[in-house]
């Protein structure tokens, strides 16, 4: 339930951040977390829901890569 993916904040404009997720830059809402540039966040449905350590983010990323194929197969934003 509720797939989320980690990414690194590279820029912050108000409540929106540019986040590097596996070398893709995404706009992410950061209203639910206290985050700064350089932090790793857990992103779900366009919104950061948690701040993670770098190690934790990297740990989760490998599994997300495995899931990527299935997510693309289903053209869905899992929730």
């Amino acid at each position: 339930m509720c797939v989320a993916v980690p990414g690194k904040i590279v820029e912050i404009n108000g409540s929106t951040a540019k986040v590097d997720v596996m070398n893709n830059t995404c706009d992410v809402n950061i209203k639910l977390v206290q985050a700064k540039i350089g932090d790793y966040v857990l992103i779900h449905a366009g919104c950061a829901i948690d701040v993670l350590s770098k190690d934790s983010a990297e740990e989760i990323l490998w599994m997300f890569k495995e899931l990527e194929e299935e997510v693309h197969d289903n053209s869905s934003a899992d929730h």
Binding site: M1, C2, N29, K31, E59, M63, E66, H79
Partner: protein
Amino acid sequence: MITLQQITRELKEYDGREIKIMEVCGTHTSSIFKNGIRSLISPKIKLISGPGCPVCVTPSVYVDKLVDISLKENHCVLTFGDMMKVKGNEHSLTEAAAIGGKVKVVYSPLDAVKIATEDANTQYVFAAVGFETTTPIYGILIDEIIKKQISNLKILTSLKTITPALTYICENEKNIDAFIAPGHVSVIIGCDAYKELAEKYHKPFVVAGFEGEHILAAVYEIFLQLKENKACMKNMYISAVSDKGNMQALSVINQYFEPKDDFWRGIGVIEKSSLRLKPEYFQYDAGSDFDEYKESPPKGCKCKEVILGRISPAECPLFAKQCTPLSAVGPCMVSAEGACGIWYKNRGRE
């Protein structure tokens, strides 16, 4: 310090009474397959899937309503992609789109703000489906609608909460011995949410991350607790999950939503198991209350038994025969997070 080898040896060689552990998160189900966890543990330790996919438990009348809205003049439904193929009592949103319904797939509820602002002549309705992970994001959406005075955007909610469903399972499915609690829902609600359940029903609840080692460690923790006749909540995903959860997210949920009884497809009504907009925000609701929950499960479909952990997806007579992701009979085969869909993609690796 115990090594991973010792853990796997102990779990592999176990030959006592059958232990049933339910994971209630589709991502855990996927990880169990990808890491071959079943092959690392004794066949006496069963890992079974529970009601962890919001799409799978969304009532068919809810889909019917979305279909009706999509077919109304100057209306458009906004939805995540995995809701598209789920059937209502007659049609899915994909079928509605094929007969002229207006449906747009988005990746975030917050995309709806831009879409609605750019097209003021269309009434947009967001299909707000999800568990507690997603609900605060719908709260932020309502916040944006109010602040930006957007008059052509509402939400239709089918927002489920996980602890009432776990309570239902503890009450009604006595043969489940323990639970691997969901990872990302727990980020929001915090691991303390499972303490009372663990104590009241005397079943271990372990919050786990998604790596193979994490799941194996969670299984081992459950194994040890059961061996010692203990039953407590243990958080083994401390890098992401805190005791109390994400307080900011919980505050957004509490600001806009309140608990209500709700219908779960395949299960029925579970007390206080959903979150609906509070009365003061009803103007942003597209009609989420239903008088009647008419359900006509597809003939032969065993999704109910799968959701409640009574059978594995492969035990359904339709599995991988009449029911496949390309031609799904039941909702659990439709979603990327559904147990049947995950089992189908990994068939042969059970």
